[in-house]
């Protein structure tokens, strides 16, 4: 009887603690570990693309890999995972994360893991952070890796954890066990209007993102929007020294005092496709400061300084825009450099959240090559910045020093956003 590949691997592991990074098979098998799977949840957007395929480069692309195991933490009346498993019988649903990863064999039996810990009913803490169990899921995943003496690439959707120490532990574990680890938002990889990349090696003085949404939620997307651009600057990323949050009246005072540059706010607003008209009867008009004060009920800013002196500012201006707009002041250019990270948002504008398409495509690259398509350190930093923003707000909008965010990394040479 021929020996199956899995038995062969299982039988030749010399010691449980010796973890071997292996070349991925030509057609990897994947497990997805999710909090909840309903219409318009991140799990639905991401896992569906592995099952049903998606539009890519003039064809309906089917990822050259098989999602064979699924764990869903919360199954409600609106659950879709059972329907998906019926239509795709090769994907089995397992009651625990360990079983999903081992598929009943007692040993790791997949070549990659997709962790989607967004949406679902989880508690909020006193700081307003939703305690999505990404760290807990991750711990269960690496427990299987350790027990099996083998680890495989992991993608973690959005930030690593609401808790900085846990996020750092996740990162350190991925290094200890030497598996490819990728994470983050779809903002860095979606379309841009215009389709521009930050030139590599430039000196960036100021960066700005004008976007929308709530704290410990879309703030992370705004931070990733900026970070995927500024990480390309001269010297690469050097980490962040401090962050200060501004909210409500403090926000407007800071704005008026010129704490962040107004020309970059205007440049970012000039990239928006969703500017709320400040005057009745006009469809697209630049708001004055008074207009903005009237339109934006709960503005939030995170302003922070990188170790090399770059200042970055993220403005959550819900009510005024519902898109993500980036602007930066680059040395040697008279005009701001700006673009919009375009999300075809299914809030009535579209039916498909196609910004998940380039995110899944980049995951595929990792599962096929065993190497992350972009550095997880970006998301480690933006995870820390999100938590720092929450912390600064919790501490009455005082400046929060972030020596723990001395995170250094280099951007990828190649662009990884959607442009083909």
């Amino acid at each position: 009887m021929p020996i199956s590949r899995r038995e062969f691997i299982g039988g030749t592991v010399a010691a449980p603690l010796l973890l071997i990074a292996q070349k991925p098979p030509s057609r990897p098998k994947l497990a997805a570990v999710c909090t909840i799977y309903h219409r318009m949840s991140h799990a639905q957007h991401i896992v569906d693309r592995f099952l049903d395929g998606y539009g890519w480069n003039s064809t309906h692309h089917h990822p050259p890999m098989d999602l064979v195991a699924l764990f869903v933490d919360q199954v409600g009346n609106d659950d879709l995972s059972r329907e998906r498993a019926t239509r795709y019988p090769q994907m089995k649903i397992y009651p625990t994360i360990a079983e999903a990863l081992t598929r009943g064999t007692g040993k790791l039996a997949v070549d990659g893991v997709v962790l989607v810990g967004e949406h679902g009913h989880y508690e909020r803490n006193e700081k307003g952070q939703t305690k999505y169990p990404r760290y807990e899921f991750f711990q269960q995943i690496v427990k299987v890796f350790r027990a099996s003496g083998r680890s495989v690439p992991v993608f973690n959707d959005k930030h690593l954890s609401w808790n900085w120490d846990w996020a750092k532990e996740m990162y350190d574990t991925s290094r200890d066990l030497k598996f490819a680890f990728m994470a983050g938002s779809s903002l860095p990889v979606t379309w841009r209007t215009p389709s521009l990349e930050m030139p590599a090696g430039v000196r960036v003085r100021e960066a700005m993102c004008v976007c929308y949404g709530g704290v410990d939620s879309y703030d992370f997307h705004g931070l990733e929007t900026m970070q995927c651009m500024v990480e390309r600057r001269k010297g690469g990323e050097s980490g962040v020294k401090w962050l200060q949050a501004y909210r409500g009246e403090n926000f407007w005072k800071a704005h008026q005092a010129g704490v962040w540059p107004h020309d970059l706010v205007e440049a970012a607003l000039s990239r928006s496709h969703t500017l709320t008209p400040a005057r009745e009867g006009f469809n697209d008009i630049l708001p004055t400061l008074d207009d903005m004060r009237r339109i934006v009920k709960d503005p939030v800013a995170y302003r922070y300084e990188h170790a090399d002196g770059l200042h970055s500012t993220m403005l959550l201006m819900s009510g005024l825009v519902s898109d993500f707009n980036f602007a930066a002041r680059i040395e040697g250019r008279a005009e701001p450099f700006s673009t919009q990270m375009y999300l075809p948002m299914p809030d009535g504008r579209t039916t498909l959240a196609n910004f998940f398409t380039p995110q899944v495509n980049n995951m595929e690259k990792m599962f096929l090559t065993g190497r992350p398509a972009y550095p997880v350190e970006r998301t480690l930093l933006t995870t820390g910045l999100t938590a720092a923003g929450v912390e600064s707000l919790f501490r009455n909008q005082t400046r929060f020093d972030t020596p723990h965010l001395a995170i250094h990394y280099q951007a990828t040479k190649e662009s990884t956003f959607w442009r083909t």
């Binding site: 003039s58 064809t59 309906h60 469809n283 498909l352």
Partner: protein
Amino acid sequence: MPTRIAVVTTVYRYLTHAQHEADRFLVGYPHNGKWHRPDAKIVSLYVDQKPEGDLSGARATEFGFKVYPTIAEALRCGGEKLAVDAVLIIGEHGDYPRNEKGQVLYPRYEFFKQCVDVFEKDGRAVPVFNDKHLSYSFEKAKWMVDASKRLKFPMLAGSSLPVTWRLPDIELALGCEIEEALMVGVGESDPMDYHALEAMQCMIERRNGGETGVKAVEMIEGEAVWKAGNDGRWSKELLTAALSRSDTPQGLTVKDGRTQDLVHNGELPKLVKDPAAYFIEYSDGLKATLLMLNGALTDFNFAARVKGLGLQSTQFLLTPTPNVTYSACLMGKVEEMFTTGKAPYPVERTLIVSGILESCLTSRIQGHKRLETPHLNVRYQAPRDSQHCRA
């Protein structure tokens, strides 16, 4: 000195073309990453209909221009002679009848002719922009273009689709060899099929030899459209490519969010109750098809097979209401013509598409028969540089 503009329009209500196009010259618009304030001033306005919600009076008061009762008076600002540097004709929206082909009889030709009358009487002509197609009638459209040549004034026209953002931001290389092209559009005829046809035209006009005209058209509807696909009269491969760019598949996607391969999952005929195919045979042999697929999606997508490159496809991004920033892209081009005195792309594009649409709708009422179109021998060269929003 700011450019003095006369606006000649059918109706000026919130979210009409007149409002979101003319307003750009009043309050500025997003352009190349800045809030651009044109060095231009609207000095006069003619508006044909003033239904409830009319904004023309309020705009005139706030921005210091006058509404005149006739087009000639608007162009002369109440004086004896032409007193403006440019004319913006926006003949879209408003209450106008339809003809037997279903075309809305917007009075663009009639408006334009009155402008030309002033130019001729006063011995001076200025640049004119005509929003959307030139006229429902090719004969009238041809007269308009001929008049601009005769009086030597720059003329620009057409839809915003050719100049809006593209996802992805592609441009076909000038002189490429296009083997076949297909466009997917949605909406009502005749406003929306026009947009789709012009979007396709701005891509395929870049082919080797330039535009040399259309020799025949045919429009079919209903079951015949699916049969034509099965018979290979339009390419399923190109439809797949075009739909790969859509963000708006309907049906199962709306129901439970899933992605769909609409060409192969059998859903398309269930979703589209009244499909239409517009077949266009160009003089140089190129075959192009517009599929109007109401019910399947709500965006505009193009695909072509290009020699040496394979499939090329893109979505013409119609940014959301109310900003409709695509009209800012278009007004950027209009302003460019007003400033430089040169149309950034040829009005012949709009002329040929006006004629293609009219002939397709004629085919429709004549039993969907193939019509030879010797009158559509419109020749022109595409601009060398890209004209769509990409900066």
